[in-house]
């Protein structure tokens, strides 16, 4: 069994592209869920907003790629307002329901035949990322070239994606960290614990919640943009129902309400995923049977690993809800 290969995959996914755009999404989700207590279970919709925003620029709208950033942000703001307006004055659960529903509808719309002309249907959109890739080339990274050392050898294209992606993680991490230390952040943390107390002190709770929802959503849209640019295409299947939940799992692993947690958590999520996945693939090269009954074969590995990740989320919430970096004293979810 190639343990070396398993470990190599684990390490590469730990710092890899998936971890990177998940981290951006988790930073955004943290603003909403971790710091403000908003149950946004539809971060995938915001990610799709950003991804399709950049995807549509060249192929659908025929404009320069860089407008896509603005369009993605605009879509995200629109979504945030749409989801927030009916729900932010009500119980937290309503936002959860509406966000899950919205993510589902967004998914159905972008993969529909009816809106093929706008969103590319099940095939999605492609052929828009050359301007982005061009910047990398201009900076000296040949797409096909090999850079790095030992196991950290990447093609120019991948290296460029990683550089841009992790820079975005650093930028957003810093922004959120600064914001949460400001009086604005203080209000959000107070809202998370007790809205009425905050209202009695003269703050417009609804407005703050909306700000947090939209900000978190806009950051999420950048995660989608990164995904689209990195893959050089946008597919509806990228935004599966479970995407938000996996981002949430990553966030919980790292520790809610901690910026470090929102970055390291998704990295760990992917490392654990890669470890289990590679390990299983090593162990299950032939279908494992018990008599006539097939326990597991290689096509099952994906779902088995996700099953374990789901179990992991449950165990975390029961035994260590503050995750790796979280502060138990600050865990505002008990008794809510």
């Amino acid at each position: 069994m190639d343990i070396g290969g398993v470990l190599e995959n684990t390490i590469l996914q730990f710092i890899g592209f998936n971890a990177c755009y998940y981290a951006i999404a988790a930073i955004g989700l943290n603003v909403q869920f971790g710091f403000t207590g908003l149950l946004n279970f539809g971060q995938a919709a915001f990610m799709a907003a950003g991804a399709y925003g950049v995807g549509q620029t060249v192929t659908i709208f025929g404009i320069s790629l860089w407008w896509g950033v603005g369009i993605g942000i605009a879509y995200a703001v629109f979504l945030g307002l749409l989801m927030g307006m009916p729900t932010l004055r009500l119980r937290a659960d309503y936002l959860a329901i509406v966000t899950i529903a919205s993510a589902e509808i967004v998914r159905l719309v972008v993969r529909s035949v009816k809106f093929r002309d706008q969103f590319g249907g099940t095939d999605g959109l492609s052929g828009f990322a050359s301007a982005y890739q061009g910047v990398g080339v201009d900076l000296g990274l040949q797409p096909a070239g090999e850079y790095g050392f030992w196991i950290f050898t990447f093609s120019g294209r991948n290296l460029w994606n990683l550089l841009v992606g992790w820079s975005l993680v650093a930028i957003f991490g810093l922004i959120v960290w600064r914001l949460m230390k400001s009086p604005w952040g203080r209000v959000l943390k107070a809202i998370r614990e007790d809205e009425d107390a905050v209202r009695s002190l003269g703050k417009n709770v609804y407005s703050y919640k909306m700000q947090a929802l939209v900000l978190g959503g806009v950051i999420g849209s950048f995660a989608g943009m990164m995904l689209a640019l990195g893959n050089a295409n946008v597919q509806p299947d990228n935004f599966s129902r479970d995407l938000t939940f996996f981002v949430l799992t990553g966030l919980v692993i790292g520790g809610v309400a901690k910026v470090t947690g929102s970055i390291v958590g998704p990295m760990l999520f992917w490392a654990i995923y890669a470890f289990l996945d590679s390990l299983l693939r090593e162990l299950v090269d032939k279908p494992v049977r018990i008599g006539d009954f097939t326990l597991i074969q290689s096509t099952d590995i994906g779902s088995v690993v996700f099953m374990v990740m789901g179990l992991l989320l449950i165990l975390l919430m029961v035994y260590r809800p503050q995750g790796l970096f979280g502060n138990k004293k600050e865990m505002a979810f008990e008794g809510r």
Binding site: I175, L179, K189, D194, R199, K203, K329
Partner: protein, 319 residues
């Protein structure tokens, strides 16, 4: 004449002793308290008011009329006229189920009446959201203390300040824009914490404070909003007797600083001790008003409490 700024009481007080010890000292009554300037002014104004339900006050800060609130067929509140004299400490009392807390919630914007109008400081308040009321100078506390346990004490306090530039998200990123104001706010917060003898707990999470300390924190935090009217919802609920004198000091101190205080209470000692005026509710209506002396001899009030637990605190009721 007592100096209006001296809130430590006329009795000798050791400022470094923890709050509870201080109160134990004067709980058994040392020299009778001398009335402050503002107390005398308030009582003089109220002396001209007839002790009748719905009586008009010479300078009302809060005026309500025709307030009705019903829940599925049960009329919880039905108040014709309600006025609170500016600069006074007014108590709102009544037996359990009288509708005091509901009325309180209505006045502070945490509930909407079915009919009725009311105004604060001359400005109509119908349909105004609770946070706007606070901005206008009306602040309230809660019966179940809402000290934000996941925030340190000093952050709790700083949260109370209004018009903070740093609370706008576009400013949040640029500390330069709000650091100066934050420092001012922090200085004010520390001053208040010293006054309420909580400064030694400054960095602690509010969750680590005792119940009584949290009450004080909530009151101190409310003062950060620089209010004109302070509405206290059962401030003595669940407070140990040793702390009650301290709370009384602070409530009197509020009036002495020019604020008006309206509080809901079951604790008759507190009501007699510090209120300038008492309004009595029963079954949703105002049945009597007057000075504490007027009220204790009012047969209608005694009737309303007959069968209920007269003069005992909520805590004793539950024992």
């Amino acid at each position: 004449m007592k100096d209006a700024d001296d809130l430590s009481g006329t009795d000798a007080v050791d400022p470094t002793a923890p709050v509870d010890a201080v109160d134990a000292v004067d709980a058994d009554g040392a020299a009778p308290r001398v009335q402050s300037d503002t107390a005398l002014v308030a009582r003089a104004a109220l002396a001209t008011v007839a002790p009748e339900p719905g009586a008009s006050k010479p300078d009302p800060i809060l005026v309500a009329s025709g307030i009705r609130r019903s829940f599925g067929g049960i009329v919880a509140v039905d108040v014709d006229k309600f006025e609170v004299q500016r600069g006074s400490i007014t108590a709102l009392i009544g037996p359990n189920g009288a509708g005091k807390t509901t009325f309180f919630n209505l006045m502070t914007g945490f509930d909407k009446p079915n009919t009725g109008v009311w105004s604060f400081d001359g400005v109509a308040m119908n349909g105004v959201a609770p946070h706007r009321m606070a901005k206008r100078g009306m602040v309230r506390t809660f019966q179940l203390t809402k000290s934000l346990t996941k925030l340190p004490v000093i952050e709790n306090m700083k949260l109370g300040a209004t018009d903070q530039k740093g609370e706008k998200w576009w400013n949040g990123l640029f500390p330069g824009l709000w650091k100066a104001q934050e420092a001012e706010i922090e200085a004010r917060a520390d001053e208040l914490l010293r006054r309420f003898k909580l400064d030694h707990m400054r960095e602690e999470y509010a969750g680590a404070l005792s119940g009584g300390q949290r009450k004080l924190l909530e009151m101190a935090r409310a003062l950060m909003t620089d209010p004109t009217l302070v509405m206290l919802d059962e401030p003595m609920a669940g407070v140990n007797p040793a702390l009650k004198q301290s709370l009384n000091h602070h409530v009197r101190g509020l009036r002495d600083l020019g604020m008006t205080v309206l509080f809901v209470e079951h604790d008759m000692d507190m009501v007699h001790d510090i209120s300038d005026w008492v309004i009595v509710m029963a079954e949703g209506q105002v049945i009597a008003e007057g000075t504490p002396d007027d009220i204790s001899s009012n047969p209608a009030v005694i009737d309303a409490y007959l069968g209920a637990h007269q003069g005992r605190t909520l805590l004793e009721d539950q024992a």
